[in-house]
Amino acid sequence: MSLRFSFDGRSYLGEPGDTLASALLANGVRLLGRSFKYHRPRGLLAAGSEEPNALVEVDRGYGARTPNLRATQVEVYDGLVARSQNRFPSLGFDLQAVNDLAAPLLSAGFYYKTFMAPRGAWAKLYEPLIRRAAGLGRAPDVADPDHYASRYAHCDVLVIGSGPAGLAAAVAASAGGARVILCDEQPRFGGSLLADRSARIDGLAAPDWVAAQVGVLASRPEVTLLTRTTAFGWYPDNMVGLAQRLTDHLPEPDPTLPRERLWQVRAKQVVIAAGAIERPLVFPGNDRPGVMLADAARTFAVRYNAAPGQRAVIATTSDTAYRAALDLQACGVEVALIADARLRADGPLPAAARAAGIRVETGMRVLATRGRRGIRVAIMGRIDLDGRVRNREWVRCSLLGMSGGWTPSLHLFSQSRGELRFDPASETFLPGASAAAERSAGSCRGVHGLDDALADGAMAGSAAAHDSGFDAALPAPCHVEGAAQAGWTSPVPARRKQRRAFVDFQNDVTSKDLLLATQEGFHSIEHVKRYTTTGMATDQGKTSNMNALSIVAAELGRPVPAVGLTTFRPPYTPVTFGTLAGYSRGVLFDPVRTTPVHGWAAAHKAVFEDVGLWKRARYFPRGDEDMHQAVARECRTVRSAVGLFDASTLGKIEIIGADAAEFMNRMYVNAWTKLAPGRCRYGLMLGENGFLMDDGVAGRLAPDRFHVTTTTGGAPRVLAQMEDYLQTEWPELQVWLTSVTEQWAVLAVQGPRARDVLAPLVDGMDIEAAAMPHMSVAVGSIVGVPMRLFRVSFTGELGFEVNVPAGHAQAVWEAVHARVEALGGCVYGTEAMHVLRAEKGYIIVGQESDGTATLGDLGLGWAIAKAKRDFVGKRSLDRADMTAVGRRQLVGLLTADPACVLDEGAQLTEAAAAPVGTRSLGHVTSSYGEATLGHSIALAMLADGRARLGETVYAQRPEGAMPVRVVDPVFLDPKGVRLNA
């Protein structure tokens, strides 16, 4: 069964199991991408996730376009549409390839040295040009149609990687019933075994042995098997992030399926079996299409049946490349030469290669390559001790397989803050002391032989199970035949001065760039990285970091470990933003909190505003009223008749206990001891720093019980602050705090007819002024529903706040609303509420005050119970600056033009003219039109405001300064006649 796919508009056939890379190779396509800086033609370097060159865009239509995917990881499906990137007009003919000619000008860090003149030219001229040249793929430009999933998981042992070491670890770890998760970034388990055509394990061919192990694991109920799942990051306390790709390989995924899933795995123990990555050789022309890692060539040939070339040269410093050569030969590739840079190569693999008739040369290396858009010739030679080239030889080939040895994958180990240990024998870093509950096994800790890797994995798996509390007998060792045995001598370092030899392929960093950086004083490897950008590309230097390090170390004449590697950071390979965001989107991004009467409000065309997580009805337009008109009508109706308002979002805390009043005394500035049950008080709470933190009415229901309200936004903060003091400072107080915000819905009935609205509804309660004066609270019921009734007002009118259990709120609301309508009233929203309270000079915490305001500033000093020895914030009030002259104080403002509505935030100045640098006297905190008073009003915080009553200051507006008269902030009914009606 063949799969049809397209690349750059041309159609090809692939086979199931193919990656885009293998399928293109099989179709003879070798040019897959262009490099970042010089736009050099590039083919495949690797066969796995370490691939730096072959980055493509995959387009699923419907807006699902993904840039920068590695062709080696894109699985071919029927209908796959892929495109090359970073080229214009086409991959074959890329105009920006001229950059390559200008390469001497574009040396490391060139941009720090120029483009500085004239002033401003950088941002206007040079930067836009550079930006256009930079970047790789194209960002998607429409909202992603796919969705993403996420879950937490817990296990005894997480095994990362499913090569021989990982599989053996998972089998051993799970034998005793431990919860095991095995993940591998590839579509199939097996790791290097999938490309192994000669090894037999316990009598089975490698792929069959893999299948058998997977079968065993699948039969164990506590084992979770995750393919296409990359362990991308290690976080504190053994939290490992996994990114699972669920649908990208499917031709027509079920749209209800998530595209990817984030796993946040908390593992008691982790076995890292991430394998090793082959190291490229550094020589001029090492980036031509057709030059690839020897093991990648082998993988393409063996695992994917995709011949990476017809005639191959293998250049190596290690034995494993001989295995690649043998396998390539077995797959029908002509191996013209194995050039081993080492002076001797007598292991079993070199012997096997010679026996197979392959020409093997030691002491020979690649000097250069030739070929347009792909290698045609490898120029080989020997270099004697004084650096002269001998025996130069041109070898015709279409494939150059190179191997500079293997770099154990230390990414996750290092992220877990384990110490790296340098192994001089293999010139690699290996895992040293652990810092987390983990162990490495197999190639990633330098155990490369198949039998050793299997044994190492089994040991790690059973030890991990043991350390997480399970019996774990070590399984019998596997019997291995025909496997490549490990072993190499030290990699031969790159030559110092050579023409451009690439180290970091994607970012086009050459050995010359690295030398230049050291020449320019960048001696820390972290500086070299940042100056040259080596290791900073989307592959994060998987194939380049060790080469860069050895070049820099050699140049500085320092041992490799003294120079050290750059820091490993998550993610191991790039992770989709959507995967990390998970379900969070729209209404699942942040909870949308709605009140029990939200549905009613929505049905009555309320316009809502966001306040914290809450949706609050801002106004209720009628007909084609705009906000201004609706609010004006709502205000007038409240002042003249009655209004109904949903105040349910107010925070509510029930404070109960023998010491409740004492606790209130300590938390609030007010005095509470003498407040009689049935009465309320406006409470003010400070932070310990003396600034206003929150306000609200508290009603005393009983000597030992208060019902306290807070601002909507402040509710959690206030409760947390109360709990903090109660639990940690005053644990001796017998008090309990319970949030009842959501227990009680609050219906504010405000206006001269408020009592008339409620009287018939409140089941036999006397709510006349004598029985229920302003600032009182009573318990009863309304239309049969239990109620806490507060007589309070935030409008300056006769008002009640009806608290009913939330589940009954809508029914009560409807009953009350019917009465309100009947008496000529209406519902009103938060905007009208703001206007009404401003007319009375009532502050809103967070609007008039801002965390830098004292009660004195706000004209609320009267609330402080002077006789109290202490309360939270009291001591801070005595600090010099809290009472200094010149502090901003709350005032009212009247504009000279009564129709003028100042902008909130407008600045106040002494004079009309305000040249730059004029000192601000303060700012407008609230400002509203002429709703009920016939002229606009504003509240402001003004320097020495109370001493300026009657004076004129100027509000600065874009249209020009507006003279404003400073007045008392109470615009309406200063005696409170309406309030107390």
């Binding site: 976080y235 504190p236 306390d237 939290m239 946040q264 908390r266 803050r417 810092a435 310990e688 720093n689 947390a720 709990e723 903090d724 003091y725 639990q727 940690t728 400072e729 644990p731 020895r869 202490d870 009291k874 001591r875 801070s876 005595d878 600090r879 010099a880």
Partner: protein
Amino acid sequence: MLLIPCPICGIRPEAEFTYAGEAHIARPAEPASLDDHAWGEFLYARTNPKGDHAERWRHTHGCGRFFNAVRNTHTDRFITSYLAGTARPHGTPSAASPDAPAMRNDTEQWGQA
């Protein structure tokens, strides 16, 4: 996401907790008796050590309790945790801080730190 040992509920994920700053900075019994400097130190000065740190957490989305813990701020690993109002357990290393905090501490032992 850290794993945090609540002394009441056991080890639980960080998402359930709220960090509440350095521990053992007790509110002075008589704030009025402190001069501005001492009060400023109480409000704002913090040890902020690189190493073992006695700190407060609240198991907000759990048992709701504030408690104290010693955590190494370099490794982020918890060493111990204990109920609010109890002394820092003996034997837990204390971060060196040359200046004794200006205010009273609620444990003898911590007074040195």
